[in-house]
Structures are given as structure tokens and as C-alpha cells.
């Protein structure tokens, strides 16, 4: 089997702070195979974005510390790569799109300028050829008046338009891995669906792998081949999308599914998960979810590890251990 596009092993990340280090990521293993669309789901604060940003070396230097773990992209250990090599990788073989299309583009440069910059940086296309490529990318994103859009400034465009432009830019140099961090969260629901479909189609068409980060299980379920569920800086369940969603093995996953408004009876109060994500300065000793878990029992004071609960399906919960034991 070829090298996975992205492989993260035992990653730990902490942020030094006033009342102690914030242990944001606490031993995450994750991989994305070629052509695969992988979802990373969890509440805000579960360190989905931090995991992805660390992988691409995008966290502001000095603000964080990677205390353990290895990250390899396309078979190469990121730690051994120079800054120049990383720059070549980012925007070339690896692209990333972000949550906030309204601010993710430079406000004082035209769309064209910003697109051409990426294209010329990572390919041999120059001048008109690069411009044609930019127009082609925009057309692929169903932007019809592409030529005209190139001359526009970001503030003149809608959020959905900007996100489509950003996706187009991300695909500029046929990336092998696209990291999409909540790309539709800031958009209207109707625009969301359209942008998602475009992203999905483009990924399938180019064969790019996608690591799709979202707090929205509904979006993830439509879109992903495989899912990782994160809680408090750990993966608590992983497996093929159908299995994880159809037969959740971790109470947290089950709670997330219950909280989906689509499944609720009309008129019934919306389900929610009581409590909040634990304080990561002093992470709980045992299972991080136990304070909010309705199945919590004595065993939960020690931490469960990810174990197989089915084919390619893993969960970190004592309930499953007991059942399978």
C-alpha cells in the first residue's frame, strides 16, 4: 500500500498559559489515505483545528509546543523538512481552506492577484497562462463571470462566492491533500450545501484526499468515507462513516447523533449534551467524557484506550471493553 497522504502518530500539543499549560491535543493518531475523504468531528474546543494546523505547521510560532508525536505528509516526516520545503508543500501538494471566507482573503488585493500568486508560486504557468488557469478554476467552482471576478476585491463579493474562490485557489496546483477547516460553517444553509457539493465533486474528480473538519455531524455524514470523533484532545471513536454513525460505540458519538435536529420529533425540545468540555489545564485523570456521560461508572476513573469494536471501527470506552470481554 502506498504511503498515507497524512499520518499523525501520538501527537501532543500544549499551549503555555497563565494558569498552567493547556493540554490541547493529548495523543492523537490519525491517517488519511489516498483519495479518501476523512471527517474530523467534535465540539468546539476538542482541538480538531489545532491538530490540523499543527500538521501543516500553521500555528503561530512561539504560542504552542508539540511535546510528542510525529507527523508525516506524503511519507515524509514534517519535523525533518526545512521551512523552504514546507512552503513548497503548502499550497502545492497540500492545501488548506478555512472557516472564515470573509477575512481569509487579503482585503486590499484583487482576487486575480491573489490567485495568480499561488499559481505562479507552485507551477510553471506565467502571465496569461496563469490567468487562464485561474479562470478555469473559478469556472469549475461554477463562477460564471470569472474574468470579471478576477478584478474584484474581496469585500465586493458574498461569503459563498469568497469561499468558492478559496476552494478554487486550494485546488490551483492539484493538491494531494486538502485540509478543510469548517469551510461552510460561516455560510448560509443554502449556500452551504452548494459549496459542499462543489468541494466534494472537485475532490473526487481530482482524486485529492480531504481531511474535513466540522462540528456538524450532519455535514460530515453526507460527505465523508471515514470519521474520527474527537473529544478533549483525543480521538474517542473512529471508523467508516456508516458504522460510526449507524452504530455509535462511544456515548459521546451517540450523544452527538442524538443532538442532530434532523432526527428530532417536531415540537420536541432539541436534545443537547449537558455540561461543557473539561478544563484542559488539568485534564481529568480518567475518561474525559465521564462527567457528562450517562453511563459513567467506577471504571471510568482510569482512561480507556482505543480498541477495536468492529472491522476498522474503534472506540475508547469501558462499556465496549466489558461487552467484548
Amino acid at each position: 500500500m502506498a504511503d498515507p497522504v497524512l499520518k499523525i502518530d501520538g501527537l501532543e500539543v500544549l499551549f503555555p498559559g497563565f494558569s498552567g499549560d493547556v493540554h490541547a491535543v493529548n495523543g492523537v493518531d490519525l491517517d488519511v489515505q489516498r483519495g479518501e475523504i476523512v471527517g474530523l468531528v467534535g465540539e468546539s474546543g476538542s482541538a480538531k483545528s489545532v491538530t490540523a494546523m499543527t500538521a501543516l505547521g500553521l500555528l503561530p510560532p512561539g504560542a504552542f509546543r508539540q511535546s510528542a508525536g510525529t507527523i508525516s505528509i506524503l511519507g515524509r516526516d514534517v519535523a525533518t523538512m526545512s521551512e523552504r520545503e514546507m512552503n513548497k508543500l503548502r499550497g502545492g501538494d497540500v492545501a488548506m481552506i478555512f472557516q472564515e471566507p470573509q477575512t481569509a482573503l487579503n482585503p486590499t488585493k484583487t482576487i486575480g492577484k491573489q490567485m495568480l500568486r499561488v499559481i505562479e508560486l507552485h507551477s510553471d504557468l506565467r502571465g496569461m497562462a496563469a490567468r487562464d488557469r485561474a479562470i478555469e478554476l473559478l469556472k469549475d467552482m461554477r463562477i460564471n463571470d470569472a474574468e470579471e471576478i478576477l478584478g474584484r476585491y474581496p469585500f465586493e463579493l458574498s461569503g459563498g462566492m469568497r469561499q468558492r474562490i478559496l476552494i478554487g485557489m486550494a485546488f490551483a496546483c492539484s493538491p494531494k491533500l486538502l485540509v478543510a477547516d469548517e469551510p461552510t460553517t460561516a455560510l448560509d444553509v443554502t449556500v452551504q450545501r452548494q459549496v459542499l457539493q462543489l468541494l466534494h465533486a472537485k475532490a473526487r474528480q481530482t482524486g485529492a484526499s480531504v481531511l474535513f473538519i466540522s462540528h456538524d455531524l450532519a455535514v460530515i455524514s453526507q460527505f465523508c468515507d471515514r470519521i474520527y470523533v474527537m473529544y478533549a484532545g483525543r480521538v474517542v471513536e473512529s471508523g467508516p462513516a456508516q458504522k460510526v454513525l449507524g452504530n455509535p460505540q462511544h456515548p459521546y458519538t451517540a450523544a452527538l447523533i442524538e443532538a442532530l435536529p434532523e432526527d428530532a420529533d417536531p415540537g420536541a425540545p432539541l436534545a443537547s449534551i449537558p455540561g461543557t468540555v473539561p478544563n484542559l489545564v488539568n485534564p481529568p485523570k480518567g475518561c474525559a467524557f465521564q462527567a457528562r456521560c450517562r453511563h459513567a461508572h467506577a471504571a471510568c476513573d482510569s482512561r480507556p484506550v482505543l480498541t477495536d469494536v468492529g472491522s476498522k471501527h474503534q472506540a475508547a470506552c469501558w462499556l465496549r471493553e466489558e461487552i467484548s470481554a
Binding site: A104, L105, N106, P107, L121, H122
Partner: protein
């Protein structure tokens, strides 16, 4: 907002400012216990002469009438006569203004040329030794008494090293180049007189450094703050994700955007330099408006002080207008909102 609107708004403000400035200075000038007519006439003048002068100048009229007469003059470019030099104030200012402007612009050049790189370095290496160093330099600049710094550089470069002259604009033994712009460095070049140019350059270095050092801190702080603001924007993250090098991210993405808010500060700095030159010019015997106004104030020569204040305030408003227009030219967000 259109260009015309901006200009109209600034001009309205200009009228307000001119009105305010003249009222304030006029009030102050009437606070002084001395009698200007007597000062003009001199100690040995008879009461009749003093009375004549008073009537000549309209000083026997009620204050509001005097003010209106003054204002009428100002609008026509007549600031009255200086009590000290006995020349029309406007003529005095015309002689001294270019020297001050030349000094202020040179100081601004110095402050920007050093202040921008320092501010950028400080922001890029925030909380690192470089940052601490720049911040100390910046705060020191703002906290330095310019008149004292002037004396120290005179002591070092004139007294000890003998490299540079201690004051004046040009070597007195040289012939002054024909006055075209009033800027000696430019006029001497126009005249093809390299010796005069060299002398003018040597003479301006110390005062420009002294005056600029204070604003170096202002510029560095502003650029640092603006850069920090820009560097944490999302588009910077996009640029990094697109594979732009750190160098490019800083200089082609963040810096141009950070310079937009900094234009205001540079404009204000030029205004401040114009009248901040007051102290520096005194120390370096620089024959500009600053030295002129200090002498006038000490002599309670209020027509001269009022003239100076009006001219500098006018320059202030015009600089602000220029800043607004530059703003609109460089920031598409403002330009397009029309």
C-alpha cells in the same frame, strides 16, 4: 465617500480651525499686561507718539472690533507687522518657512527610514530580544528632551570629533545659492554648486537627527502595532497555507496593509515636526520659523506668534487633507464605498 466630499469636509474644518486659532491666540495676546503700542514706540517715546501708534493700529477700539480687523487682514494674507523685526509677519514667515520645512522633511525621512524597519522587526519577533530593544528605543525617543539630545550630539560631533558644524544652515563663507525652492540642498544642486550642497547637508544632519529621533519612536510604535494587527488576520494564515515564505508574508502581505493606518501617523508626525522644530531650531541656531517664534514669544511679539500659529495650523489641516486623499487612493475598501 467621494474625493470631493472629503475635500469639502476638510475645508469646512479649516474655516473652523482658522476661526478658533485666531480667537484663541487673539485672546491670549490680550491677556498680557504690557501695552504693545508702548513696546513699539520704545522707552523714550512721548505719550503722544504712543497714542498715535495706538490709533494707527486700532488698539483704541473695543476688542471685538480689533479682532474683526485682524481677521479681515488674515483672510487677505496680512498678519500685521512684527513688533520685534518691524517687518510684515507674512514676509518673515515666508523667509523662515522653507528652512523649517526642509528640516522637518529631512527629519521625517530619517524617522521613517529607520522607524518602519524597526517597527516591522519588532512585530515579527514579538516578545523577543529584538522587540524589547526596539520598544526601549521607541519609548526612549518619545521621552528624550530634544533640546538636550541636540546639545549632546553637538558635543560629540562638533566638540569632540569635529566632523559636523554646530549650527546654521550653511557655511557662512560660502555664497548662498539662488533661492528657487528655499530648500538649500535642492537650490544648491540646481545651481550646480556641490560645495554648497555638501555644506548644507552637513549642517542639516545633526538637527534632522535630533528632531527625527523623537519621531522615530512614534513611527516604530505605530508600525509595530499595525503589523501585529495585520499579522494575526486570517488572510495571513491563508497566505502561509498557500506556501508563501515568511519573508513574503511579512513584506508583500502584511506590510502594505499595515502602512495604510500608518499614513495617518506619518501625516501627524509631519505636522508635529513642523512645530516640534521650535526647540531643535533654538539649539542649532537653525534660521527657521521655530527659532523665530521662540524669539517672538520671549519678546511678547504677538502678531508674529499669531501669524506662526495660523500658518502651522493651516499646514496641519492641509496635511490631514492630503492624508485623507492618500488613504482613499491606497485603500480600495474606502474608495469603493462611494
Amino acid at each position: 465617500m467621494s474625493f470631493l466630499n472629503v475635500i469639502r469636509r476638510r475645508l469646512m474644518f479649516l474655516i473652523l480651525v482658522l476661526f478658533g486659532v485666531t480667537v484663541i491666540t487673539f485672546t491670549i495676546s490680550n491677556l498680557i499686561p504690557g501695552d504693545p503700542a508702548r513696546m513699539i514706540a520704545g522707552d523714550r517715546a512721548t505719550p503722544e507718539i504712543v497714542q498715535n501708534i495706538r490709533e494707527d493700529l486700532g488698539l483704541d477700539k473695543p476688542l471685538p472690533v480689533q479682532y474683526l480687523r485682524y481677521l479681515e487682514g488674515v483672510v487677505q494674507g496680512d498678519f500685521g507687522n512684527s513688533i520685534r523685526t518691524r517687518r510684515p509677519v507674512l514676509e518673515d514667515l515666508r523667509i523662515f518657512f522653507p528652512a523649517t520645512l526642509e528640516l522637518a522633511l529631512t527629519a521625517l525621512f530619517f524617522a521613517t527610514a529607520l522607524g518602519i524597519p524597526l517597527g516591522v522587526a519588532s512585530a515579527v519577533w514579538k516578545d523577543k530580544p529584538v522587540d524589547h530593544f526596539v520598544r526601549v528605543i521607541a519609548v526612549t525617543g518619545i521621552s528624550t528632551p530634544a533640546f538636550w539630545l541636540g546639545l549632546l550630539v553637538i558635543l560629540l560631533f562638533y566638540g569632540n570629533l569635529g566632523w559636523l558644524p554646530s549650527g546654521g544652515r550653511i557655511d557662512p563663507s560660502l555664497e548662498m545659492p539662488t533661492r528657487v525652492t528655499g530648500f538649500l540642498m535642492i537650490d544648491s544642486l540646481l545651481a550646480g554648486d556641490l560645495q554648497a550642497f555638501g555644506s548644507a547637508l552637513k549642517h542639516i544632519l545633526l538637527p534632522a537627527f535630533t528632531l527625527g529621533f523623537v519621531h522615530l519612536g512614534v513611527v516604530a510604535r505605530q508600525v509595530r502595532a499595525a503589523m501585529l494587527e495585520e499579522l494575526q488576520q486570517d488572510y495571513i494564515r491563508t497566505a502561509k497555507a498557500n506556501g508563501l515564505s515568511r519573508f513574503k508574508v511579512v513584506f508583500t502581505e502584511a506590510l502594505p496593509n499595515a502602512m495604510i493606518p500608518s499614513i495617518t501617523v506619518l501625516g501627524l508626525a509631519l505636522g508635529d515636526l513642523l512645530y516640534g522644530a521650535v526647540l531643535t531650531e533654538t539649539v542649532f541656531a537653525w534660521p527657521g520659523m521655530g527659532a523665530y517664534v521662540v524669539n517672538s514669544i520671549q519678546a511678547l511679539d504677538f502678531p508674529a506668534v499669531m501669524g506662526f500659529t495660523v500658518v502651522v495650523s493651516l499646514a496641519y489641516v492641509l496635511i490631514n487633507l492630503a492624508v485623507d486623499l492618500i488613504y482613499m487612493a491606497v485603500d480600495p475598501r474606502i474608495r469603493e464605498v462611494s
